[in-house]
């Protein structure tokens, strides 16, 4: 019995049993008690051999209760590294984008083009001047398309092998008073590049509240198209809000038209030879009729081919000039310190830190729960094995 044990026997009188158990109680050997007393006095100092062999790589063993949080911390660290290195699913990082094929990059850029700033012209122009020039206004189906925002200074068009019809579209933004001036600059560029203005529509608003806009349809020699687009992107009083380059491969159509023209010419040559050897009036009339049809076909194919060559040789450029609304000029406070700015910056840092912590927590909490569950399961299994050992110790 424990000395000074004032604990009652829990409503049972076990005094007789206590005496019986005490009578058969085993006591430790004196030699063992002396050794154990000495070890306790030495505070369980490790024997030299054990101390030498028991050197650990780590300074101390983690307590078991810290296993779950430790695993959670490691998992959180991994998650933070993954997040900070841009490994989030669905996000197209720069490295991955560089590895994409060229056409896929352009597809991605098309997706980004929807975020390019757009400004619609005012529906109520106060004064207008229109210059119309006759010409084919054939639209082209773009086989490749690129878009640019003001951050993109030069846009490399997709060049395909063979005959191509190229077109471009550019949206410029200028101040309300300078829309017409920018339109004049556009025409100057067209003149410098030996092109022509097929259609233009310029609206100049009287007030400063906006509403001025202009649309121009240009025809530029294809070899000069890139130069013209570069100059249009660098106009003095305008900035590029969006730009689209398109090209269509018409090699098959061109070759087909040429083949048809050659066939028609061969037919006419053949008919001419037949006409030389014809003797009857009926045969001569028939051959002449066929010759007439052949010449009509030749003329038709020549026109078609000429038109196609013109479209290949001259690219269509659609220019849209929109007036920008007056923007208040921001005051540069970068060099001045204010409490409001400091508070704003501190709040921003806190928000970003909280966001990072939240993301890390989102990954760490499930991992920690799983780790805690595994630890608990391990402890439970170990205790169960211990109890089983007791049960089988009969």
């Amino acid at each position: 019995m424990r000395p000074f044990d004032d604990t009652p026997m829990e409503d049972e009188d076990y005094g007789d049993v206590a005496l019986q158990i005490a009578a058969v109680r085993e006591w430790p050997r004196e030699e063992f008690t002396r050794e154990l007393d000495a070890r306790v006095q030495q505070r369980f100092a490790a024997p030299p051999a054990r101390a030498a062999s028991g050197r650990r790589m780590f300074p101390a063993r983690l307590p078991r209760w810290a296993a779950g949080p430790a695993v959670a911390v490691v998992a959180g660290g991994v998650a933070a590294v993954v997040v900070l290195t841009g490994g989030a699913p669905g996000q197209l990082n720069l490295t991955g984008r560089q590895k994409l094929p060229v056409l896929a990059q352009h597809a991605a850029q098309n997706g980004l083009a929807t975020f390019a700033p757009k400004s619609e012209p005012s529906p109520t122009p106060r004064a207008s001047a229109s210059v119309n020039a006759p010409g084919a206004a054939g639209g082209t189906a773009a086989t490749s398309k690129t878009a640019a925002n003001p951050a993109v200074s030069a846009l490399a068009p997709v060049t395909l092998a063979g005959r191509q019809i190229q077109s471009a579209q550019i949206s410029l933004t200028a101040s309300n008073q300078r829309v017409s001036q920018v339109a004049s600059e556009v025409m100057g560029v067209v003149s410098a590049e030996h092109g022509s203005v097929r259609d233009s529509h310029i609206t100049q608003a009287a007030s400063n509240a906006g509403g001025s806009y202009a649309t121009l349809s240009l025809s530029i020699p294809t070899p000069n198209l890139q130069d013209a687009m570069t100059q249009l992107s660098r106009l003095r009083y305008a900035s590029v809000s969006s730009r689209t380059d398109a090209s269509q491969n018409v090699s098959n159509q061109y070759n087909n038209d040429r083949r048809q023209l050659a066939d028609a010419r061969a037919l006419r040559s053949s008919l001419l030879k037949q006409l030389q050897s014809a003797y009857t009036q009926a045969a001569i009339d028939s051959i002449k009729a066929q010759l007439k049809l052949a010449e009509q076909q030749i003329t038709s194919w020549e026109n078609t081919l000429s038109s196609l060559q013109h479209r290949i040789g001259y690219s269509t450029v659609e220019v849209q000039i929109n007036a920008s609304f007056p923007v208040p000029v921001p005051i540069d406070h970068s060099s001045t310190f204010t409490l409001a700015r400091a508070g704003h910056d501190a709040l921003r840092v806190l928000v970003v830190s909280a966001g990072v912590a939240l993301i890390g927590l989102a990954a760490a909490v499930p991992a920690g729960l799983v780790a805690a569950l595994l630890v608990w399961l391990w402890v439970w299994l170990r205790q169960r094995r211990r109890e089983h050992a007791l049960d089988t110790s009969e």
């Binding site: 424990r2 829990e10 058969v24 006591w27 063992f32 154990l36 369980f44 009969e394």
Partner: protein, 191 residues
């Protein structure tokens, strides 16, 4: 027997060990007091589980060493230090049982000093009585035997027993009552 129990009463409860002393390492003082008050009880309890003197000595030393290493992790709010120590000893003993993978056999006492003294006193009745109690104890199931040892060797309260065994306090009372009844029946059974 009464004399031996009286001698053991020189041990002190852990909570009283450091009273009035200038303590430099309070945890060490508390551990030392715990060791002094529990050494023999712990050995008796472990021997009851293992029924092997050598193994009981090893496990007893191991339990005290573990308790010493973990003395700063002890949380008084979760129970008394004595219960905590016997929990450590229990786990160590069960690990030993599991490690050996064999059933420990009850050692035949090589020397029983008290019995020898009694023989000198010609008290054969007591010798027979002790043998009867030993046989009755060995006939108990391991869990009942452990419960008896924890209650009467270690002197744990039912609350401490519940903490060590991982069962409820009321369940401990019931189990203890049944174990004692079995022991009484075995002791009083006709030969």
């Amino acid at each position: 027997m009464t004399k031996r129990i009286a001698l053991r009463s020189t041990g002190v409860r852990l909570g009283l060990a450091t009273g009035g002393e200038q303590v430099t390492d309070q945890s060490w003082e508390r551990f030392e007091a715990l060791y002094r008050s529990s050494r023999d009880d712990l050995y008796a309890y472990v021997l009851t589980l293992l029924r092997d003197r050598a193994a009981a000595e090893d496990v007893t030393a191991l339990a005290f060493e573990r308790a010493y290493r973990r003395r700063r992790t002890f949380d008084r709010h979760r129970g008394e230090e004595r219960g905590w120590l016997f929990g450590i000893a229990r786990n160590a003993a069960l690990d030993e049982l599991r490690r050996r993978r064999r059933t420990a056999t009850l050692l035949v006492d090589p020397e029983d000093v008290s019995d020898a003294e009694l023989v000198n006193d010609n008290d054969e009745d007591l010798i027979v009585r002790r043998a009867t109690v030993r046989e009755a104890l060995n006939a108990l199931a391991p869990r009942d035997r452990e419960l008896i040892a924890l209650k009467f060797h270690a002197g744990l309260t039912n609350t401490e027993l519940a903490a060590v065994l991982g069962v409820s306090e009321s369940n401990v009372g019931t189990m203890l009552h049944r174990a004692v009844q079995k022991l009484r029946r075995a002791v009083n059974a006709p030969v």
